[in-house]
């Protein structure tokens, strides 16, 4: 796993792209991601894995927005990243976990070659007020072992907008 200083140097030599990049968001071995202003919720009562489920947009006002339990909110990071050399992994920050907020529902592993903003799948255990631009997630970077010619070309490649899940 890359150290914080190594993340800075990888950004400088172009092995990692993070835009916007702010050195204050670098940790000993990770980089903090901030929450974009838009949340999306599914409008259908029952989600269907086989269909494209409709989404409704919520804009987080300056004085924050209260998330409700039993709802899943999709949101993007403000940061756009390119990961051509290292394997990125995303998860919530410790302070976020300690209020019961989850920002992803699976392991949070990214793929080498993934370019785009990071999709947060946000759920909470109790009603919780969140704010736009708050530092909600973090990225870790792992060196990859072996030939890395198989590259991410998945459904979220180059994502800059929240899209309904495609299964």
């Amino acid at each position: 796993m890359l150290s914080g200083q190594e993340i800075i140097e990888a950004v400088e030599r172009g092995d990692i792209t993070i835009k916007p990049f702010n050195k204050e968001q670098v940790n000993p071995n990770s980089y903090n991601l901030t929450l974009g202003q838009e949340l999306y919720v599914y409008s259908d009562g029952i989600l269907d894995s086989k269909k494209k489920n409709k989404l409704n947009k919520i804009t987080i006002p300056d004085d924050g927005y209260i998330l409700s339990p039993n709802e899943i909110y999709l949101a993007l990071s403000n940061e756009y990243t390119e990961n051509q050399v290292y394997v990125p992994q995303m998860s919530g920050r410790s302070s976020i976990g300690r209020v019961g907020l989850m920002v992803h529902s699976n392991a949070g592993g990214g793929s080498i070659g993934f370019n785009g903003k990071w999709l947060f799948n946000i759920t909470c255990l109790v009603p919780t007020k969140v704010y736009k631009d708050m530092q909600i997630g973090q990225l870790w970077f792992f060196p990859i072992i072996g030939d890395d010619s198989i590259r991410y070309e998945g459904e979220h490649h180059n994502q800059k907008k929240v899209k309904s899940t495609k299964i």
Binding site: Q5, E9, G97, L125, V126, W140
Partner: protein, 171 residues
């Protein structure tokens, strides 16, 4: 990731500190950690990221304490840990996960340089009775690549008690 034997070696060299330490808790590539006898719950209808939230402490008696679904419990490890030159990662026991209990909500990665007990973010799907000192998870260690000059100076450095979120310090 370090093997169990390598974790022991790094403890001898002082790069990893685990207190109390017991060889029987060394796994093939991790160290088993245990639940302390205290839980902290928030005493608020809505949790605020910008403000400090009120909390209440619960002591887990010897006969156990029943966790309820829909509630967030913060707990802590019995073990105090320090680490240099490695990134620690905490993960829950498979046998607890099989009961629908999660002990952390984030990826469980710690920071190189972190010192303290580990605060656990506990929730359950069905009511579950837990006990003090039960094995609840393990810590694995990853090697770090590159210059380590950025040290952990975070909000939780040196935490000994179960520590509620200090996210309000970000604002």
């Amino acid at each position: 990731m370090l093997s169990g034997m390598e974790i022991m070696k790094q403890i001898e060299e002082g790069n990893i500190v685990i207190k109390p330490f017991d060889k029987k808790n060394i796994g093939p590539n991790s160290y088993y950690i245990h639940m302390a006898d205290e839980l902290v719950v928030y005493d608020e209808d809505v949790l605020e990221c910008k403000n400090k939230n009120k909390t209440r402490k619960i002591t887990i008696p010897e006969e156990g304490y029943v966790l309820r679904p829909g509630e967030l419990y913060l707990g802590r490890t019995v073990e105090y840990t320090e680490v240099e030159h490695f990134v620690p990662i905490l993960s829950g026991c498979l046998s607890l996960a099989s009961l629908g209990v999660t002990i952390h909500i984030t990826a469980g990665f710690g920071d190189n340089g972190f010192k303290g007990t580990w605060t656990l973010e506990i929730c359950c799907v069905r009511p579950v009775r837990i006990y003090p000192n039960m094995k609840i998870g393990h810590i694995c260690y990853f090697p770090i690549v590159g210059d380590e000059r950025i040290k952990y100076k975070g909000k939780y450095l040196g935490q000994m008690d179960t520590t509620a979120s200090r996210i309000y310090k970000d604002f």
